[in-house]
Amino acid sequence: MSEEASGVVKKFLYINRKAPYGTVYALESLEVVLIAAAFDQDVSLAFFDDGVYQIAKGMDTKAIGQKNFSPTYKALGDYDINKIYVSKESLDARGLSKDDLMDLKYEDEDDDWAEKDSIHIVNSEELADLMDSQDVILSF
């Protein structure tokens, strides 16, 4: 990717800390991420605090009269956004595990298009290292 990009390639990390509904931050963060995909930057996503609910599976929003936008996360792999980090502590605190999350996958073009997991469960220390290694962090 970096060879083809005409300009600078920076490491962008989008941090999602809020529940998917109740405020608009999750939806509008996802809109930024989808636009970011067109810029040939090195994009990672992190979900922690109530943000882990954004990628929980089995979402049904009928009763609150809002559009369920969670299927959009499944398309991220097709946009070459496949580095998704989820806080283990945040999952634990909410009684959740990886099995409660959507199956987010991507096809690895460097490995004969093998289907791989986009989600990585990380602890606080790993999240801190991840944040430390970024050029731009946007937290929603």
Partner: protein
């Protein structure tokens, strides 16, 4: 240094835009460059000229407009977030322009530091 500014909250309910304004002003006075100020989420509400606070309160929208005029600042309002909240060309305050989210990403790429003001 070249800064990119992101404002995620509207005026008055949150101090975010006041803090962003004070930061931007201070940075410019110190000789730094502000690549762009981008307004997102409820931050787009900072851009309506219909804002009319009581006379003894600061008018945040006018403060931004004046700062933009003085320093040729690029104040960009996200189109999708703006349309959701009734911000359009006809009620846009002086010095602001409406554009896409790509302007935020570009700000992150071009600026040395990207600073977010919001909750």
């Amino acid at each position: 240094m070249k800064f990119g500014i992101l404002i995620n909250e509207g005026p008055y309910t949150h101090q975010a835009t006041d803090s962003a304004y004070q930061f931007t002003k201070a940075a410019l006075e110190k000789g730094h460059e502000i690549f762009r100020v981008f307004f997102y989420h409820d931050g787009v509400n900072n851009a309506t000229k219909l804002t009319e606070p009581p006379q003894d309160d600061r008018n945040i929208v006018n403060l931004w407009s004046a700062l933009a005029k003085e320093h040729n600042l690029d104040l960009v309002v996200c189109v999708a977030a703006a349309l959701r909240r009734g911000i359009q060309e006809e009620n846009l305050a002086e010095g602001f322009r409406i554009s896409g989210l790509g302007q935020l990403i570009e700000s992150g790429i071009q600026a040395d530091r990207m600073i977010t003001f919001g909750d």
